[in-house]
């Protein structure tokens, strides 16, 4: 898999979530994503960006366009230096209906993406990476 372009944006206030959504939408459109795929990745972006802001105390998003053979895709990496997540399994298990907590954004974003990776530990911050391929 090769990276074709990279862009880093900062997430430090509420308005940034909108800016980041718009940037991701633009990239997805440029890659030729269909409308449903665009909506899914933009929604996942919104969830994760909000997490980065609210629970991570602010951070960055790295937007990369990637290519794997003939398939094009969009990879987004959200990083913060916040408190980190103690129990990732639990955070991922929580669906929306169980109320507040990290689970809201994380499990949803995972469902909306083709690939999902998370690196986190208490006191070590959090890095979440999602990838969506362009549908054939």
């Amino acid at each position: 898999m090769e990276v074709q372009s990279s862009e880093t944006l900062s997430i430090s206030e509420s308005e940034d979530i909108v800016l980041v959504r718009q940037a991701v939408r633009k990239k997805a459109v440029g890659l030729g994503f269909n409308l449903v795929d665009q909506t899914k990745i933009v929604t996942a972006t919104s969830e994760l960006a909000r997490n980065t802001l609210e629970y991570g105390g602010g951070g960055t998003i790295l937007i990369q366009t990637v290519q794997n053979g003939r398939r094009g895709g969009l990879r987004l990496t959200f990083e913060d230096q916040g408190p980190g997540i103690a129990d990732v399994a639990l955070a991922l298990k929580d669906g929306y209906t169980t109320g507040n907590g990290m689970g809201l954004g994380l499990s949803g974003a995972k469902r909306l993406s083709d690939e999902f990776e998370i690196e986190t530990a208490p006191g070590k911050g959090t890095r979440v990476s999602i990838l969506r391929w362009r549908s054939a």
């Binding site: 509420s14 308005e15 979530i17 909108v18 959504r21 718009q22 939408r25 409308l35 449903v36 665009q38 909506t39 899914k40 933009v42 929604t43 919104s46 969830e47 909000r50 669906g95 929306y96 209906t97 809201l104 954004g105 499990s107 949803g108 469902r111 909306l112």
Partner: protein
């Protein structure tokens, strides 16, 4: 500060969300609508989201909150015009959005509110 305009239509309040809302704007809308229901003694609230290309869990929660608060104030809510790709994404996201009546467009939304209110003035609110 920027606000989303709320229109009064007889006993109903109509909101049409045209912009990509940031969180604070959404919270302001929530407050404005609640205040508006009280001030105008509105019986119904219609939220038109046909221009929204994305609804995430925050906006979903906002809509739920509005519906719940309206119900407490004896007003009916209906959300209209959700786009197919938004609906598909919300289902995938796992957002149930239960308890919020929906309609395809403004016209059907008004018909729904009318029916609900007529029913409510009988023996309690209509089941939607």
């Amino acid at each position: 500060m920027e606000r989303i305009p709320i229109l009064k239509m007889g006993e109903f309040l109509l909101v049409s969300i045209q912009v990509d809302m940031h969180d604070r704007l959404a919270l302001t809308l929530q407050d404005d609508l609640t205040a508006g229901i009280v001030k105008h003694r509105a019986r119904g609230v219609m939220i038109d989201i046909s221009a929204l290309e994305m609804v995430d869990s925050f906006i979903g929660r906002m809509l739920s909150n509005i519906a719940n608060m309206a119900r407490l104030l004896d007003a009916q809510t209906v959300v209209v015009g959700m786009q197919p790709s938004v609906a598909i994404t919300l289902v995938e996201l796992g957002l149930p959005m239960r308890g919020i009546p929906t309609a395809l467009d403004v016209e059907k939304g008004i018909a729904l509110l009318d029916a609900a209110i007529r029913g409510a003035s009988g023996n309690g609110s209509a089941v939607l």
